[in-house]
């Protein structure tokens, strides 16, 4: 008999599939999808989260499905790691599904049916990726996930840019999948048994283990969006409809993290510190690259996508440190690193989902996605503004919200460096902490820009609004979308204020993978105090933090209003007495990034066009491009063209040559035989 959590999880998956199928049913499908499908899907997500959470506290359970390869049916397994990611998927997708119900309300039946199908297949396949317990089911679910999301990305396929994005996305995803497949091939070792149990029992030479690690790391990294394989992410995530962007950025790229942890820690095993260093280097590059390019964006969704790249980098920092520590035989610190990474995975899922839903609300309510067209939205969309502020503070790693907790934990991991034996590694580890610090500060800058430009200040006149037929101008978005955002905002707060609960959960997950959890007095320190190692070394109590700040603010306000006569006069802004302010005098998003361009100039590939002195309508155009295109992608494409041009010489149309080919082949083989 299948234990409850696993059965429940499978039931949720089935429900999602069924919902997807229903949305396809013509006529009835459309209204069904419009009314019932998404809320029901949200409920299933909620249930899934509950089951996942429960599974963390129960022994691993596995089951076998009837489908699958000959002699090897689909195996599913629910252990703490899978449970945690199911929880993530369920909790976040619940909010997204609910707001999707509002977002897609106005779609035409045809489109809605397809979106419904693809959306739920997407969700279900993600759940299956997490549940899979054999290489085949994993790959099937993995690629189904890629396909479903591809079709969602190309929902508006009339725009060639979106088609290009979809193509790039699916291509890189497929290459990554092939790499993963080969990694499984190495682990499989021709034994004909593809279950994870069998794969993890493979005995590999160090070289092969390293090859397997590299294949897995880059295979999953391609999906996670780490450099240099990130190119698809800033293209695809903005292209998709906003709830889908939220799902992709929030959850899908996390399945790649799941895959990395599963394969590297669980299947390959025997983690080596060199691997950790590789991960760290790539991670540091990803982090800085992501945030620096995010600062240059003025398309809101694109900007958020680049921040996903950055946050993947942060997660990988934690992961890499954990691998280094484990490699040097410090499982406890390793567990801490893993916990930090997983915690940030969850946090990023929550606040990035929130931010994308916010961006979607702006797009939906105003038809705006370019920051330079926005401004003063806080006055017309107060609710959205509030939730977005929470998300912005969270991603900027500001206490007492959740982003800070996980980055704080990551810092704590880096501060364990002195216990390492290897002097070089010991001294470079803090540098990665420095990277993290820099990235955090830059993120804060970036979101001051986003929030300040989009929600604060005065409305700018839109230059290129997106023609969104459902854009009802004026007022905030509908209750569904608001609820979705509120849900995630609450998540940001709860995860930020009560990290200890999550820590104990993650401790079980880490223990199930690394064998040892955190130190006892780390866990004994009670719900109030977040203690990674020992209270003497470090502790943080967001509750007290929050209470004190709120208390102090209230106290001050009280005192001030007690002793202050409280007369307030409204008038024009003063602005050093500068006459007639117009909205056009406000900073634009590009202007806000200008100092960064100045400081980090060499990193960017800038194409500037300055207006001439006698220019009737002067226009300053700045285009920032990603150097990776010119360093990696285009050369590869050119190489492929070159080769195929050479190959084409085989087919020059002259039959005598063709005969000659087969003649020579024959002769050659005969010589070879004789």
């Amino acid at each position: 008999m299948i234990p409850a959590p696993l059965a429940g999880a499978l039931a949720c998956v089935v429900i999602w599939f069924v919902l997807g199928g229903f949305s396809l049913v013509p006529a009835a499908g459309a209204s069904f999808a419009r009314r019932a499908a998404f809320p029901l899907g949200a409920l299933a997500g909620l249930a899934l989260a509950a089951f996942g959470l429960r599974a963390i506290w129960e022994p691993a359970a596995s089951a076998t499905l009837l489908l699958g390869l000959p002699g090897m049916p689909f195996h599913v397994r629910l252990d703490p790691l899978a449970g945690f990611f199911l929880f993530l998927l369920g909790a976040v997708s619940t909010a997204i599904s609910i707001s999707a119900a509002g977002y897609f309300r106005g779609e035409t039946p045809g489109r809605l049916a397809l979106i419904g199908l693809q959306y739920f297949v997407f969700l279900a396949s993600m759940a299956l990726v997490i549940l899979a317990d054999d290489a085949y089911l994993f790959m099937v679910a993995w690629e189904t996930m890629a396909l479903a999301s591809y079709f969602l990305v190309t929902t508006d396929h009339q725009q060639s840019a979106i088609r290009g994005a979809g193509f790039l996305y699916l291509l890189i995803a497929h290459l990554g999948a092939l790499a993963i497949l080969l990694c499984f091939g190495i682990l499989h070792g021709g034994r004909g048994d593809y279950t994870f149990a069998a794969l993890s029992s493979a005995h590999l030479t160090p070289q092969w283990a390293t090859v397997a690690f590299l294949l897995a790391f880059f295979g999953f990294g391609a999906k996670a969006g780490m450099i240099p394989l990130h190119a698809w992410l800033p293209e695809a995530h903005p292209a998709a409809p906003s709830p889908v962007s939220a799902l992709m950025s929030g959850v899908m790229i996390k399945t790649a993290i799941y895959g990395m942890v599963r394969v590297i820690y669980d299947l390959i095993g025997g983690v080596r510190w060199e691997w950790g260093v590789i991960v760290l280097v790539i991670a540091a590059g990803t982090t800085l690259f992501g945030v620096l390019y995010a600062l240059m964006q003025h398309d809101l969704k694109r900007l958020l996508a680049y921040h996903s790249v950055e946050n993947i980098g942060i997660i990988l920092l934690g992961l890499g440190m954990s691998m280094v520590f484990i490699g040097f035989g410090h499982p406890m610190a390793g567990a801490l690193g893993l916990i930090a990474a997983l915690y940030h995975t969850l946090n990023h899922a929550v606040f990035k989902g929130l931010l994308f839903l916010g961006a979607g609300s702006i797009l939906h309510a105003r038809g705006l996605r370019d920051l330079n067209d926005m401004g003063g939205l806080i006055r017309t969309m107060p609710k959205t503004a509030l939730y977005f502020l929470v998300g912005a503070l969270a991603i900027s790693a500001l206490p007492p919200l959740n982003g800070f907790v996980s980055e704080w934990l990551t810092f704590q991991v880096a501060l364990q460096a002195p216990i390492l034996g290897h002097s070089v590694v010991r001294s470079i580890l803090p540098l990665f902490a420095a990277t993290l610090a820099l990235a955090g500060a830059l993120t804060a800058m970036c979101f001051v820009k986003v929030y300040g430009i989009a929600f604060l200040g005065q409305p700018r006149e839109p230059r290129h609004p997106v023609r969104d037929p459902h854009a009802h101008s004026g007022g905030d978005v509908g209750p569904m979308e608001q609820f979705g955002m509120a849900w995630l905002a609450a998540g940001c707060v709860v995860l930020g204020v009560f990290p200890v609960a999550m820590l104990t959960v993650l401790n079980r997950v880490a223990a199930s993978l690394t064998g040892t959890g955190l130190s006892t007095d780390a866990l004994a320190s009670g719900w109030l105090w977040l203690v990674p190692t020992t209270p003497a070394q470090a502790s943080y109590s967001p509750v007290i933090f929050l209470v004190v700040i709120v208390g102090v603010v209230l106290l001050t306000a009280l005192l001030v209003h007690r002793f202050y006569h409280g007369r307030v006069r409204r008038s024009d802004p003063w602005d050093c007495g500068f006459p007639e302010q117009t909205p056009r005098m406000q900073d634009t998003a590009d202007a806000f990034g200008q100092p960064i361009r100045h400081v980090f100039g060499p990193i960017y590939l800038m194409k500037r066009s300055l207006p001439g002195p006698d220019d009737a309508s002067p226009r300053f155009v700045l285009k920032i491009e990603d150097r990776h295109w010119y360093w990696i992608y285009l050369p590869i494409a050119r190489l492929a063209d070159f080769v195929s041009a050479r190959v084409a010489l085989l087919q020059q149309g002259r039959i005598s040559f063709y005969l000659l080919y087969s003649f020579l082949t024959l002769i050659a083989l005969l010589v070879f035989v004789a």
């Binding site: 084409a648 010489l649 085989l650 087919q651 149309g653 005598s656 004789a674």
Partner: protein
């Protein structure tokens, strides 16, 4: 006793086949090609008869008859008709520089022998060397097809190759089962007719049988 005599005869005919193959390689005029083809067929039939007689494999008589009917009479006749109808009777072509082709051909023959010797060592049949000659004939006709620029000579090359195979079948291994022989013969016949149809189509499309017109389909 007869074996040695018959064997020598067969070897003689084999040598003659080889000669004809070389002649075809160098022959420019289409009509002469057809004639050579007919001679090849005749030699084939004769050798088959000899083998049949000397080994008493009765079904080889049918094969021989088949060969005469098909390769000496029918196909040459068809080719003649075609040549008349297409009126390419006097049409000659210049294959790429004949001496080199000849040298390559000789190299091929040597190669074929080298390849065939170890096999013919273990052959139980009376006619050992013939396998090598058959292979040589096949390769030579292959070479001929490569160097020819016109459709009809190419097809004749194809048929000549089939002759070589037939020779291999009959002389090296006392003939394949009759059903197979018949099937092969049928294929050859049908093939010839289809080739005939093609000649006309090609003619009407490209108003020439020069296959150099047919190099449009290619990668660019």
């Amino acid at each position: 006793m007869g074996t040695s005599l018959a064997g020598q005869m067969v070897n003689l005919l084999a040598a003659f086949l080889l000669l004809v193959a070389f002649a075809m390689l160098s022959q420019r005029r289409v009509l002469s090609l057809v004639r050579l083809f007919a001679w090849q067929g005749a030699a084939l039939a004769a050798s088959t008869l000899l083998v049949a007689y000397s080994t008493g494999q009765n079904h080889l008589y049918y094969s021989a008859a088949l060969a005469v009917a098909l390769k000496v009479i029918l196909i040459p006749w068809v080719l003649h008709r075609l040549i008349d109808r297409l009126d390419v009777r006097w049409d000659i072509e210049t294959p790429i520089n004949i001496p080199t082709t000849m040298l390559v051909g000789i190299a091929l023959v040597i190669f074929a022998f080298a390849l065939a010797t170890p096999i013919s060592e273990m052959s139980s049949t009376i006619t050992r060397g013939t396998l090598g000659i058959a292979l040589a004939c096949v390769l030579l006709s292959f070479l001929m097809m490569i160097v020819r620029r016109k459709a009809i000579p190419q097809v004749i090359g194809f048929l000549a190759m089939e002759n070589g195979l037939f020779f291999a079948a009959t002389s090296a291994t006392h003939g394949m089962p009759l059903v197979v022989e018949l099937g092969v013969a049928l294929d050859v016949l049908v093939g010839t007719f289809i080739f005939g149809i093609f000649f006309f189509h090609i003619r009407e499309q490209f108003d020439s049988l020069d296959i150099r017109h047919m190099e449009k389909l290619k990668e660019d």
